[in-house]
């Protein structure tokens, strides 16, 4: 399978701060590639270089078969970009926005209007088409933003934290829109700080830290590397914490982390159902009353702790 996005050894620094430090990436055509990492890991810088907005200090990148520096114009006909803000004109209506961007993508007047109507229909914005965008909800703005990026049906789409700042409903709306795109064969490069978002949407995930990809693979391949699922137990009284932690540690066969303030015990597990059943039974047998028991995916912070040995907010001192 051909690669829609290839980045090799990308470097970029701002003054003394290193944003990218030998960034490598390969996204096969027709897949969703998730770039997962905390704030400041270099995800946005990478996307901006790939979308021809920034020049790298070193390294090279190809998007849809064209070099992002030397053949920027060709790349721009083949990409869509959804940045962290909904980059649409707030004063104009949704349809006016799409026609404007269509014209700037060099569609004829009629073709631009037709494409705008198609996209409004597809992203369920037809009813709000003539309302000024400043009266749109966050989810609607994002959908319009997405629609504006898809005017030329580009083979490669960059989504930089597309659901940041959205409520759960808006997030669901955007996720659905992205899934529909992928079904059409678009290659998507998605950056996110949320493991569950990468889980929901991405075929392959690259974990980014300090300007470099530190782990890469499908979700299943990464599961063990990412530390797998976790079980959380909250006890009713602080006095039961030690006993419960020992118990959870014994059942899961791994060191349980204890959060004293939250009276919460957390441990990695391999089999969800077995772990849950056994923890519940063991607690019951020991006479410990749990206030809450839950299975969950690890947070990004836990993944980082697992992969790098440091939390997302701690930079290793150089």
């Amino acid at each position: 399978m051909a690669s829609a996005v290839i980045a090799q050894g990308l470097r970029k620094h701002y003054g003394d701060a290193v944003a990218l430090d030998g960034f490598d990436l390969e996204a096969p055509a027709g897949t969703v590639c998730g770039l997962l990492g905390p704030n400041g890991a270099g995800k946005t810088t990478a996307v901006r270089i790939l979308a021809t907005l920034l020049r790298p200090d070193a390294g090279s990148a190809e998007v849809a078969g064209f070099d992002v520096v030397r053949q920027a114009a060709q790349v721009r006909y083949r990409i869509g970009l959804v940045g962290q803000h909904a980059a649409v004109d707030e004063i104009l209506g949704g349809r006016q926005n799409l026609v404007l961007f269509g014209r700037l993508f060099h569609l004829g007047a009629r073709a631009a209007r037709r494409r705008a109507d198609e996209l409004l229909e597809r992203f369920s914005l037809a009813e709000a088409a003539d309302r000024p965008v400043k009266r749109y909800s966050g989810g609607m703005r994002r959908r319009l933003d997405l629609a504006a990026s898809l005017i030329l049906a580009p083979p490669v789409l960059f989504l930089d934290e597309p659901t940041t700042g959205l409520d759960p409903r808006g997030r669901n709306e955007v996720w659905q829109a992205i899934r529909a795109l992928v079904a059409d064969g678009t290659t998507v490069l998605l950056t996110t700080q949320y493991l569950d978002e990468a889980d929901q949407l991405a075929d392959r995930i690259s974990v980014v830290d300090a300007g470099r990809v530190i782990a890469e693979g499908t979700q299943d391949e990464l599961k063990s590397k990412l530390g797998g699922d976790r079980i959380d137990v909250v006890v009713r009284t602080a006095g039961e914490l030690a006993a419960a932690a020992a118990l959870v540690g014994r059942v899961t066969g791994a060191g349980a982390e204890v959060d004293e303030d939250g009276r919460r015990i957390s441990a990695p597990i391999s089999d969800r159902v077995t772990a849950l059943t056994e923890v519940v039974r063991a607690l019951h047998d020991a006479g410990i009353a749990a206030a809450d028991i839950a299975l969950r995916r690890p947070t990004l912070d836990e993944v980082f702790l697992h992969l790098t040995g440091h939390h997302t907010d701690e930079r290793v001192a150089a």
Partner: protein, 264 residues
């Protein structure tokens, strides 16, 4: 090459139309913008006008109106600044830069729309001037030259607006700009003759590019209160062309450099 030029023109036109669509969406804002200088004319012409003395004698409103034309051109800088910073802050500038449109279209469209807006503003002010008894007393050719010099000043201020917009990048900074625009406007011959100011301040006011345009407009319209003893006051028309051209010569490359630096 021809293809590229064709797209530069077409994309520039599309961007101009975008701003015209903004006007249609926000007619109140446009009307308020057009009427604000009219309000100033009424305020200065009738409220303060009684206490004003025109050097060499003459009606104060005849003196005031060309100054207000120049002020109207200066006020336009706020519109330029807000448009540039709003696009940058919302990421719209990034979207444009990631698209295959002509890179020049952003500024061509900006200039086109701002110049149309200012021409309209000037037309409203001329109508307002005629209504309060102002008129052009010299030939129509001179009057046309005065209008051209006023629009040239506005054109140079577009580049100041674009440069400041790219440099600050935040629409909220317009508050600071508004505060700066006022002293810049008042420290000129727009409302009062620099001859009435303390010596050094008067010299500063005379060298204000706004004064050159206002004085040139007074001279070309045949209105009172232009000229003076200093070199600059005697060469108003020359300076009304030289100042804006100098501003453009400095700010145009600076703006282009700022724009390019976005990709650094």
């Amino acid at each position: 090459m021809i293809g590229r030029l064709r797209w530069a023109v077409a994309d520039g036109w599309t961007m101009t139309m975008r701003d015209l669509a903004h006007w249609a969406r926000q007619p109140t804002q446009v009307v308020v913008g057009l009427l604000f200088p009219v309000l100033l004319v009424l305020m200065f012409g009738y409220l303060f006008g009684g206490g004003m003395v025109v050097p060499g004698g003459g009606d104060y409103r005849e003196f005031l109106i060309p100054g207000m034309f120049a002020m109207t051109m200066l006020f336009g800088i706020e519109a330029t600044f807000v448009s540039v910073t709003t696009d940058a802050a919302r990421g719209v500038t990034d979207r444009f830069r990631s698209m295959p449109m002509a890179p020049s279209a952003v500024v061509v469209g900006r200039s086109g729309a701002d110049m149309l807006n200012s021409a309209l503003g000037l037309a409203v002010m001329i109508a307002c001037g005629l209504a309060v008894g102002w008129g052009w007393r010299a030939g129509i050719g001179d009057a046309a030259l005065a209008v051209a010099l006023l629009l040239l000043l506005r054109f140079s201020l577009i580049w100041l607006g674009i440069y400041l917009g790219l440099a600050t990048g935040s629409p909220e900074a317009v508050m600071a700009l508004q505060i700066l625009v006022w002293p810049l406007g008042f420290l000129s011959n727009a409302f009062v003759s620099p001859a009435t100011m303390p010596g050094w301040l008067g010299t500063l006011a005379e060298w204000n590019p706004l004064s050159a345009t206002a004085a040139a407009a007074r001279q070309l319209f045949g209105n009172p209160g232009w000229g003076g003893d200093s070199w600059i006051a005697q060469h108003a028309v020359l300076m009304a062309a030289a100042w804006p051209l100098l501003l453009i010569a400095v700010l145009f490359p600076l703006s282009v450099r700022r724009y390019r630096r976005l990709s650094r």
